[in-house]
């Protein structure tokens, strides 16, 4: 299963990538909003795991763009955040994210979640 992980925090990407690769996932990292959109359009991942608190509120913009494209509108998006406001969470869900996960993510729970989405 192919996963794009979008986060401006390199530590988070390194940790999650290692955990997911150990569990057999193919991981494509994206370090900002533009990379997240490009990687999703180009690789058509099974899931986009997206930090919605990237600088400038750009995570929300990524959801909007991904859902607006016919190529990626069906791509499941799991939002993640350390401190999103209720408004940001609601917006992420309203725009089409499946859920909004609290950071730090437990890798075992994340793997279960991703496998359930893919099933």
């Amino acid at each position: 299963m192919k996963v794009v992980i979008a986060d401006d925090d390199k530590v988070v990407i390194r940790l999650l990538s290692a955990g997911l690769r150990r569990s057999g996932f193919e991981v494509i990292p994206a370090y900002d909003a533009m990379q997240a959109i490009m990687a999703t359009m180009r690789h058509l991942p099974d899931i986009l795991l997206l930090d919605i608190n990237m600088p400038g509120g750009t995570g929300i913009e990524v959801i909007r763009r991904v859902k607006a494209s016919s190529k990626t509108t069906l791509t499941p998006i799991l939002a993640m955040t350390a401190t999103a406001t209720a408004l940001e969470r609601d917006m992420a869900l309203e725009l089409g994210a499946m859920d909004c996960l609290e950071k730090p993510l437990d890798i075992d729970e994340l793997v279960l979640r991703l496998n359930a989405i893919a099933a």
């Binding site: 401006d8 925090d9 390199k10 530590v11 988070v12 390194r14 940790l15 290692a18 955990g19 150990r22 608190n53 600088p55 350390a82 401190t83 950071k103 730090p104 890798i107």
Partner: protein, 144 residues
Amino acid sequence: MDLEATELETLRQVFLDDAPPDPSPALDEEALSRAVRGDVELVGDLLALFRPEAAAALDRIEQALSDGDPSGAAAAAHAIKGTLASLHARTAAGTAGELEEMGTVSDLDRWVALHARLRVQIRQVLGELEELVGRMESRTEGPT
């Protein structure tokens, strides 16, 4: 509000130079070890990624403090808070969270104190990460 450099430096020295390290562990080593599954290379990478990020965040907070820019300080604190939480450094993440939530530079003493505390805690996190890498490496190498 622009602070005179000397005033800021004086406050920093008062809080920073005398700030004792917290005696309790800065890292939840058990949680981090579980997350990395004993992968010493991964912990080494995390340390290498975290070191410059932490230094840059502390500098950005300090710069924002001297520029009287609370939103800049909050943004920098927010960024490093997420990183610290992911490393299971909860105490330091909490301090970064307090800085993020200050939202004003009116209480200068508190700003400077929190920044100094965060600097000390981050130094502890780095030290404990280095120790963890060392211990994992020696376990990997085994007895000679």
